[in-house]
Symmetry: C2
C-alpha cells in the first residue's frame, strides 16, 4: 500500500460566504457556505450544476424517553439545528493512495481526493458541527463531524435535514422507502412521478414500514433529463447511526434525508466526538462509471483486522432452494403448532417427511460439492424452532445449537471435511436480536467446535425489541456487533435482511455478503422482473456485494412443487451471466443437484468462474437494460465475461480489447440460443468454443431476461491448433 | 422436606354459576364463577366479605408492532377477553408440605392450601383460560393459566383486567404507581383520598413514569374501615410477564390491575402453555399476621439449583455511604466532561482528589471488616465511566472490567482474602441493559478470576432499549436472566432499581437482595420519614428481602460533607433495631468506619446480630407506628429482638415468652435514652445488660424514629452470678 498525503492548511478567519473545492481532475466542483444562516453545499460537473444549492442541518430533540409520564417537567420542544449558523475556519487537504482489498472487483483500489473540512457554528447556541467534503474524480462524499465542545457532549438527532436538490426532473430508479425491507422490484420514472408510482412495485413483506409516499431508499440511481450525467446517492460507513432513506419534495425538486426512527421516534443517540456516515453523490458521464466507482469503499476505514488469512471467497451450494420453492421444508414436523424451546419434544414428534436438512439429503449436496469443486454447502432448517419461526413477536425462537433429530452435526461436518468441503452455518434470528445476542458466543463456539467458518444470518419479521426497526441505530449497532464478534472466532458473515451495506466490508472483510434486496428467492415468490438484475449493480451493489444466489436452471417451478406457479424470469445463459455481473466473493449455485445434472455443459461455467478478481472492466451498461462486464480472475490469467440483458432483447457488440494484446485465448461462449425466451424457452442456450484475442469483436444476440457468459483461458499450443478463431 | 399431596378431582360438567373453596382452617372462603358472561371471584373471612365480587379478564391486542406504517392492512382493534365467558370444569385439590429455604426468616416453612382450578371459556371465540385459586389460612393466591389450545398459541396482552373490589373505604398505605421507580415515601389515607394525595410524597427520580393519579404500587397494605382485617395485595412469581400496578376506581371502590407497557404500548407477549404471576391477597386479623405470612414464597417454585452450598448470607461494610453523602465521589476525575470507553484516557487524567474507591481507602474498609468479623466489603465507583454515568441515554456506559488507575483489582482482592474478607462487585448498568447483557459473561469471568462471589447491580436512569420501562416484561426477563447467568458462575446478586421482588428468591436463592424502595440513601437525599421503616416490612418486604443498608450512627450529614443538609431521621437505637425488623440475608453496616469507632458499644450489636434465622416471632405491629420482632439465629441458641418506632414515641411492653421456658439469657439492651430525639439527640442511647427468661416482661420507652435492639445469649454459670435479672 502506498500513500501520499498532502496537507495544505488554509485557515480562513471570519465569515466566508462561499468556498469551493475541486476534484483532482478539476472536473467536479463543490461549493459550500452559509446562506441566510443555513449551511449549504452544491455540486457541478464540467461547469454544469448537478446538485443545486442544498441545505444541511438537523432537528435535535431533548433526551426524554418517557412517553407515558403525564407530569412532564422538561421542555420537550425540538431544537432546530439548521439555522442561525455562521461559517468558521476551513482546512483543505489532498490525499492519494492505492490500497488492496482482502477480496474485491479489483486487486488495487485508488483512493484519491481533495478535501475541505469546514466549521459551521450556530450563533444562537454556540454549538457547532464540521462538514468534511471529499471530492473524488467521480463524486463527492461528505459527512458531519461533531467535535468535543462545551455543553454539547450528548445529543439526540430526531431528523437529519441533509438536502439533495436536483437540477432537472431526473429519471430515477428506486424502491419504496421502508424502515424494514428492501425486498422490492425497482421502478423507473421521473422524479415528479414517484408518488403516483409508490405502490406499483410494493409486495407484502414479513416486516414492512413505509414513512412517506415520496420515500425512496438508497443507493438511488438517477440520470439527468439532458442525459448528460448519471448520479448515485447513498451513504458510506454507516456505523452506530440510523440508516438514511430519502424523501422527495416535489415542490422543490429535492430529496431530504430521512433517518429510521427508534421505538420512541428518535433517530440517533450521539456523544461527541462523533460523525455521521458519509453522504455520497457519485456523478459520472455514463452508467458504466457508476459501476466502476470506488467512492463507497474509499470512504470507509481501512481493514480493522491484522490477520485476514482466514477470510476467503466462497463458491457454494446449499439445502435452500428446495425450501424456498416449497419442495421441502425448514421445519421437521407438522405436529408442533407452536414450539417452545425446552418444552417441545422433537425426539417424539412425527417427522413431516419433507424436511430438507436430513443427513441423507445434506450428504447428497456434500457429494455434489466435492465432485464439482465447490467450497461449501449451506444448510438451512437444521436447528429446532422452524415450525413457527416468525410473525409472533417471539423472544426465544432458536437457540442456534440444537439440531433436529435427523441432522447429525458431527457426522455431517466430519463427512464434509473428509471431502474437502465446509458446511455453512445458518443463524435465522427471526429478528429477535436480544435472544441472538444472548446466544451468540455459545453459537459461535458451537460452530468452531464442529468446524464451521461461515454463517448466513437472517432477520425475518418485526424486530424484537419491539418498536425498533431493521434500519434503526439499534440494529445498525447490532449487525456490526455480530460481525466483530464473528471475527473474534474467525467466522465470516453473510447477513440477510440486515441493513443495506455501505462499504463496511473494507473495514470488516469478514462481512462477505449481504442480501438487502429482492434476491433469487423472489423468483419463487411470484418472480423477479427480468430487468431486476440489470438494475441491482447500479443500486444495491454500490454498497457492497450481494448474496443474490443465482444459477437457477429449472425456471418452471411447478416441476419442483406442483403448487408453485412462480416462474424464474431468466434464461439459463442469463443466469450464468450473473456470476460475473453481480459481483460477490460469495457465489451460490442455488438450484437443485438434479437440475444441474441435466445441463452439465452449462453448469461447467459455474464450476469454472472465479469469485475473486484482479481487475474488472465495465464494457456496456444501461440501467434495467443491460450490463456487460469482463473480469480477470485474481492470481490467474483467466478472464470471464458476463452480459445480462433486462427489459429488451438486444445485440451486444463485444470488443475483447480488455485482453492483453500479446495473447490468444480459448473462449467458451454460453449464449441464449436464437429461439430462447425467458418465459417459454428459458433453457435454450448455445455453447461455442473458439479463439479470441484483443482485437476480436463479437456480435452476440441476447433475449429479454437473457444474457451470455464467456470464460477465457490462455490458449495452449494445442488449443491454437484445435480451435478456430471466433467471429 | 416432607410433602403431602391430596388430589380430589371434582369434574363438573356444564355451566356452573358459583363455586366455593375454603381454606384449610375453614375461615377463608373464596367464591368464583361467571356473572353476565364475566368471570369473577370474591373472598370472605369468618363469613365477612373482604373482597367483593371482582371480575377477571384481559384486553388482548393484535401482534402488530409497526406504529409507522401508514398503510395498515391488519385489523388493529383490541380484543375484549373479559366477556362472553362460560365456566368449564373445575378440579379441586389440597396440598401440604414443609420446605426449607436456603436462607430466611425461619428454617422451615409450611405450605398448606386448598386449590380449585377452573376453566373459563369464551363462547364467542372458543378460547379459554383457567384460573387456579389457592386458599391458604392467611390468604388467597390465584393466577391465570393458558393451556395449549387451537388457534391460541400466541397472544399479546394489552392489559389485564383483574379486579380487587374493596368492601369498605379502607385505610391504605401506598406509594405512587410508576413504571420505573418505587423510591417513594408512603402515604397513609383512605382509599377515597388517594387521588388528592397523589403528589404528596412524590420526589424526582432519575427515571419516573406515572400512569394515573389513582395509580399505586404493590405490595399494597390496607385495613378495613371496621379495623377487623388487614389486607395485602401483591403478586408472586413474576416471570416473563409485566409487573402489575393497581389503579383505583373511586366510583366502584375497586382496584384494577395495570400492567407496565412496553415501548409500543403492549404489556406481555405470551405463548401457550403459560401462566400469569400469582395475584396475592393476604388477609389477617392483625398487622403482625401480614409480617408472618409466607404466601408469597409458597406460591413460587421450589429451588431451581441442586447445589446451593455457595449461597451464603452476608454482613458487609462498604465504600458507599461516603459517596451517597457526597463526602467522596464515584468518579475519578473532574476533567472528563463525557466519557467514551476506549477513547477517554484515565491514565493521564487528573484525579479529583475525592475518589472513594482508592487502594488506600478500600484497604481501610478491609481492615475494619476483618477486625470486626464482617464477611465482605462492597466497593462502588471502582470502574471507569462514572464521570457521566446516567441521564444521557448512553449505550456503552461501563465495561465492568476496567478499574480506575487508583484501584488495583488483584492487589485488593488478594489483600482482602488474606484477611478472610471478600470484596463485593458493583455492576451499575445505568439501565443500559443491552450493553450489560453483552458484557455479562466477561464481567462474571472477571469476577471469578479475582475471587468475587457477589455483585450489587444497579439500574439508574431510563431504560435502554429506549421506551422500555424498569417494570415491563422486557426488563423482568432481563433481571432473571442476570440471576440465572450469575448462578452459572456461583455468584449472588443484590439488584438495585430492579423490579420489586415477588418471592423469586425461593426458586433462585442467589437473589440475596433487592432495593426496590427508598433505602437508607434517601436519608442523604432529604431524609426518609421517621415512620418509613415501620411501613416497609408490611409492604415492600412482602416480596423479598431489601438491601436497606441500615446502621447510620452520624445523623448530621453536614459533619461528613458541609454542603449536605440532610438529616438521618432515626436514633442510633432505631438503626440497630432495623437489623432485626428489616429482614435480609444481606445486611450492611453502612456508615463510615470513623463513625462506628466513636460508638464501639453500640456497634457491638451490629457485630453480634445474625443474618440468618431459625425462627421469627412477630410481637408487636402497627403500620407506620411500630414493629417488634424476635428472631432466633440459625444454628445457635442466641436470640435477637428489634423494635422500631415510627410516627409516635411509645412504650413497648416486651414479653419474653418466645424464649424456651427452661433457660436464662443474658440480654443486652440497646435503647433510646430518655432524652433521645431523632432530630436533636439521635445519638443518645443507653445500653443495659442483665438476665431474662421466658417469664420476663420489660417496659421499654422509645421515641419517634427510635427503637431498641436486644441480643439474648444463653447465660453461663458465671453470667448467672454476674448479672441481675432485668425488670
Amino acid at each position: 500500500m502506498k500513500a501520499k498525503l498532502l496537507l495544505s492548511a488554509m485557515l480562513l478567519c471570519g465569515i466566508v460566504n462561499a468556498q469551493n473545492l475541486k476534484s483532482p481532475d478539476g472536473k467536479l466542483e463543490c461549493n459550500f457556505g452559509v446562506e441566510g444562516g443555513k449551511p449549504y453545499y452544491s455540486l457541478k460537473k464540467n461547469g454544469v450544476t448537478v446538485i443545486e444549492k442544498s441545505f444541511l442541518g438537523f432537528v435535535l430533540t431533548p433526551n426524554v424517553s418517557q412517553p407515558y409520564t403525564f407530569k412532564v417537567t422538561e421542555d420537550n420542544s425540538d431544537i432546530d439545528f439548521s439555522k442561525n449558523f455562521e461559517q468558521g475556519k476551513t482546512q483543505n487537504s489532498s490525499f492519494s493512495e492505492t490500497w488492496k482489498p482482502v477480496w474485491g472487483e479489483e486487486q488495487e483500489i485508488l483512493n484519491s481526493y481533495n478535501q475541505a473540512k469546514t466549521e459551521f457554528i450556530q450563533k444562537t447556541s454556540g454549538k457547532k458541527f464540521e462538514v468534511v467534503f471529499r471530492l473524488f474524480n467521480d463524486g463527492l462524499g461528505f459527512r458531519y463531524e461533531f467535535p468535543v465542545q462545551k455543553n454539547f457532549a450528548y445529543f439526540v438527532i430526531k431528523q437529519e435535514l441533509t438536502e439533495f436538490k436536483m437540477s432537472s426532473d431526473n429519471t430515477v430508479w428506486w424502491i419504496p422507502g421502508d424502515y424494514d425491507s428492501q425486498e422490492y422490484q425497482y421502478t423507473e420514472c421521473k422524479l415528479s412521478e414517484i408518488q403516483k408510482n409508490f405502490y406499483k412495485n410494493v409486495r407484502d413483506n414479513a416486516s414492512q414500514t413505509f414513512f412517506s409516499e415520496n420515500g425512496v431508499q438508497t443507493p438511488l440511481l438517477m440520470k439527468t433529463s439532458d442525459n448528460k450525467f448519471f448520479i448515485s446517492l447513498h451513504e458510506a460507513a454507516l456505523v452506530d447511526y440510523s440508516c438514511m432513506s430519502l424523501e422527495f419534495i416535489p415542490q422543490e425538486n429535492k430529496f431530504i434525508s430521512h433517518l429510521t426512527p427508534d421505538a420512541t421516534g428518535n433517530a440517533c443517540y450521539m456523544q461527541t466526538p462523533c460523525t455521521s456516515p458519509w453522504r455520497t453523490i457519485i456523478v459520472t458521464d455514463d452508467a458504466a462509471g457508476i459501476l466502476a466507482s470506488r467512492i463507497t469503499l474509499n470512504l470507509n476505514e481501512p481493514c480493522a483486522y491484522e490477520d485476514v488469512s482466514w477470510i476467503k471467497p466462497v463458491k457454494y451450494v446449499g439445502v435452500w432452494w428446495e425450501m424456498i420453492t416449497n419442495k421441502s421444508t425448514w421445519s421437521y414436523t407438522d405436529e408442533a403448532s407452536s414450539v417452545k424451546l425446552g418444552y417441545t419434544d422433537f425426539k417424539t414428534a412425527k417427522p413431516n417427511g419433507k424436511h430438507g436438512a436430513t443427513n441423507q439429503n445434506v450428504k447428497k449436496y456434500i457429494d455434489f460439492a466435492a465432485k464439482h469443486g465447490f467450497d461449501a454447502v449451506l444448510v438451512e432448517g437444521w436447528n429446532i424452532g422452524w415450525e413457527d419461526w416468525f410473525g409472533f413477536s417471539k423472544d426465544e425462537v432458536f437457540d442456534f445449537v440444537t439440531p433436529y433429530p435427523d441432522f447429525d452435526v458431527k457426522m455431517l461436518n466430519d463427512y464434509a471435511h473428509s471431502k474437502g468441503v465446509k458446511l455453512i452455518m445458518h443463524h435465522e434470528t427471526s429478528s429477535s436480536v436480544r435472544n441472538y445476542e444472548r446466544c451468540m458466543d455459545t453459537a459461535f463456539k458451537f460452530m468452531k467446535h464442529f468446524g464451521y467458518d461461515a454463517v448466513k444470518t437472517g432477520y425475518v419479521g418485526n424486530i424484537v425489541p419491539r418498536g425498533e426497526h431493521h434500519y434503526g441505530q439499534w440494529l445498525v449497532n447490532h449487525y456490526l456487533y455480530n460481525i466483530k464478534k464473528a471475527a473474534e472466532y474467525k467466522i465470516c458473515v453473510n447477513a440477510h435482511e440486515a441493513v443495506r451495506p455501505t462499504g463496511l466490508c473494507r473495514t470488516y472483510p469478514n462481512l462477505i455478503g449481504n442480501e438487502s434486496a429482492a434476491g433469487t428467492e423472489y423468483e419463487s415468490f411470484g418472480g423477479n422482473n427480468p430487468e431486476h438484475t440489470c438494475i441491482l449493480p447500479f443500486t444495491r451493489l454500490i454498497g457492497g456485494p450481494m448474496d443474490y444466489t443465482p444459477g437457477i436452471f429449472e425456471m418452471d417451478l411447478s416441476k419442483l412443487t406442483p403448487d408453485n406457479t412462480s416462474h424464474v424470469n431468466s434464461t439459463i445463459a442469463g443466469q450464468l451471466a450473473l456470476y460475473v455481473t453481480m459481483y460477490s466473493p460469495l457465489q451460490m449455485a442455488a438450484d437443485l443437484v438434479e437440475n444441474y445434472e441435466k445441463f452439465p455443459d452449462a453448469f461447467q461455467f459455474i464450476k469454472d468462474v472465479a469469485v475473486d478478481w484482479q481487475k474488472s472492466v465495465y464494457l456496456e451498461a444501461d440501467p434495467m437494460r443491460f450490463i456487460t462486464i469482463a473480469r480477470k480472475a485474481k492470481g490467474s490469467e483467466n478472464w470471464f465475461v458476463g452480459s445480462k440483458t433486462g427489459l429488451f432483447s438486444r445485440t451486444s457488440t463485444l470488443k475483447f480489447d480488455f485482453l492483453p494484446s500479446d495473447k490468444q485465448y480459448v473462449a467458451t461462449l454460453y449464449c441464449d440460443a436464437p429461439d430462447a425466451d425467458f418465459k417459454t424457452k428459458p433453457q435454450s442456450y448455445k455453447i461455442t468454443k473458439g479463439l479470441v484475442n484483443s482485437k476480436s469483436v463479437l456480435t452476440l444476440k441476447t433475449v429479454s431476461g437473457g444474457g451470455y457468459a464467456i470464460s477465457l483461458v490462455p490458449a495452449t499450443a494445442k488449443d491454437l491448433k484445435s480451435f478456430k478463431k471466433l467471429k
